[in-house]
């Protein structure tokens, strides 16, 4: 019989952790395998993005379940949540949100540390490889699930000699939810 509601305090949700080096090395071997399989760097970039997208559309549910965040009221808030909560939660790094475009639809996430790319050196022949492109896909997939269509691309990459990692996020459309059924259904 139910009296007085559910047992009050819930255990804080646990996040499974993985050793950072195992993670880095596993990611590295995935990229290596993709290069071996596709032999075309552009195609590898595309595949990494797609893999990230598939992760993103699931990962957002876990994030929403565990982060205990409230509603974001603007794209600005959303970008902050990604940089200050989502990235620390899943990658154990945080990013800065900078370079806002005047109309507030474009910004950059700047990372100075990136566990995906530890121990990585990019050989000259793979200069076009966007090694961390999986992350661009994750962000795109996750935001799409909360009704924001965004475009993500890397504009700086420490592996290519820049002084930080900079992921440019452009809000293409903030979709309003529409009633999915027609009247006569």
């Amino acid at each position: 019989m139910l009296r007085g509601g559910p047992s009050g305090a819930r255990n804080p949700p646990s996040l499974e952790q993985i050793n950072a080096e195992v993670f880095t090395l596993t990611y590295g071997s995935i990229v290596r395998q993709l290069i071996a399989d596709f032999e075309d760097i552009e195609e590898v970039n595309k595949q990494l993005e797609q893999m990230g997208y598939n992760m993103g559309i699931r990962l957002v549910d876990e994030f929403l379940a565990k982060a205990k965040i409230s509603r974001c009221s603007s794209f600005r808030d959303t970008a902050d949540v990604v940089a200050k909560q989502a990235l620390p939660m899943f990658l154990n790094v945080s990013a800065n949100v900078t370079n806002w475009s005047p109309d507030q639809t474009e910004c950059s996430l700047v990372l100075t540390d990136n566990p995906l790319a530890d121990f990585v050196e990019l050989p000259e022949e793979y200069r076009e490889l966007k090694y961390c492109n999986v992350l661009a896909g994750v962000v795109r997939g996750a935001l799409e699930m909360v009704n924001m269509d965004v475009e993500c691309r890397w504009v700086s990459d420490m592996l290519r000699g820049d002084d930080c990692y900079e992921l440019r996020i452009k809000l293409k459309e903030h979709r309003d939810e529409k009633f999915p059924y027609k009247d006569d259904d």
Partner: protein
């Protein structure tokens, strides 16, 4: 006191999971068939949330929705936390993390069903049918 049925809707308003424990009046006496029943349920909550958004003095931008609807006996207390925990600990753990689950598609998973039942029982929301029948 217990649950009658549960609906899980995806972001397109399609019912991706439905389960009923106890439904005193069959669907035929209501919407006609299960599909219409689910559609009407979604429509009801859509309207309610639109109504709330209209009444809300703050300007809130919409947020992706995932709807869990749990019909319970009227004597059940406030279940906000239970519903939140159901999403956090059961849906995410057993459905979203299931590699066979395609996001947004209907799913069937024994693990999820077992976890769901265990969770509701733990919260005192699943009792024997007789008690419920007597309570109606």
């Amino acid at each position: 006191m217990g649950c009658f049925n549960i609906y899980v809707f995806n972001r397109q308003g399609t019912c991706v999971y439905y389960h009923e424990w106890f439904r005193p009046k069959s669907v035929r006496q209501g919407a006609g068939n299960l599909q219409d029943d689910q559609k009407q349920m979604f429509g009801l909550f859509w309207t309610l949330s639109n109504f709330c958004a209209t009444m809300d003095p703050k300007e809130n931008v919409g947020f992706g929705r995932r709807e869990l609807i749990l019909n319970t006996h009227r004597e059940a207390p406030d279940l906000t936390e239970v519903l939140q925990a159901l999403y956090d600990d059961i849906f995410v753990e057993y459905v979203v993390k299931n590699p066979l689950y395609v996001p947004g598609q209907p799913f069937q998973s024994d693990q999820f069903v077992n976890a769901l039942n265990a969770f509701l029982r733990q919260n005192g929301l699943l009792q024997q049918q007789q008690i419920m029948q007597a309570a109606v």
